[in-house]
Symmetry: C2
Subunit: 116 residues, 2 copies
């Protein structure tokens, strides 16, 4: 498969719907936060669509949590209700400072491997 | 510096001006092409603003070619006129298939290290 294109446009990622494993629409990707040095996406910011009454907070997700599902034309994240309720989040007008400490907390929450 | 935020929003990168080392505005970043597996930006697509009569073709640049210059509030790319004239490019309505072969050609052109 090495010769097949495996890139996706950032403008295509932004706005893509995100679903729970059971098929509920959770929201959509609102933004990508890129590590300046490596050019690697540190977080994909999920905008929740009022799911569970959570309003429209942003949830920073590690990139590897997003699995594209062609049948849904969107990403599926394997998150339990508990993981969602306790997940790091912020209001749109209250963007956090993305320190390493913050990042490790986010990655730990989802069981993703922190990278530097 | 490990505790300082080093992320940037994709929406902030898109639209940022790009300058030559001598300060000429070359155009702006139009899109980011992200490697699906690693989440790493494979190319930043530079939209030329008619510089050298080149029209508005897109030039895929390796991420490490973009050096942010706070005094210009934009990126500076260290490209010679020759590098530009011979650089891989495509018309907006003629997006290439981003195979590995294509990518290596782009990276070689700019002297960037190909990564997998």
């Amino acid at each position: 498969m090495a010769s097949i294109s495996s890139t996706i446009s950032s403008s295509k990622v932004e706005g893509t719907n995100v679903y729970s494993p059971s098929g509920d629409k959770l929201g959509s990707i609102d933004d990508l936060l890129i590590d300046k040095h490596s050019g690697r996406v540190r977080y994909a910011a999920l905008e929740f669509g009022g799911f569970l009454g959570l309003g429209s907070d942003r949830y920073p997700l590690p990139w590897d949590q997003l699995k594209y599902d062609t049948s849904k034309d969107g990403y599926v994240v394997h998150l339990s209700k508990e993981q969602l309720e306790n997940a790091p989040r912020y209001a749109l007008n209250d963007t956090p400072t993305y320190t390493d400490d913050y990042g490790r907390k986010v990655y730990d929450h989802y069981g993703s491997s922190w990278w530097v």
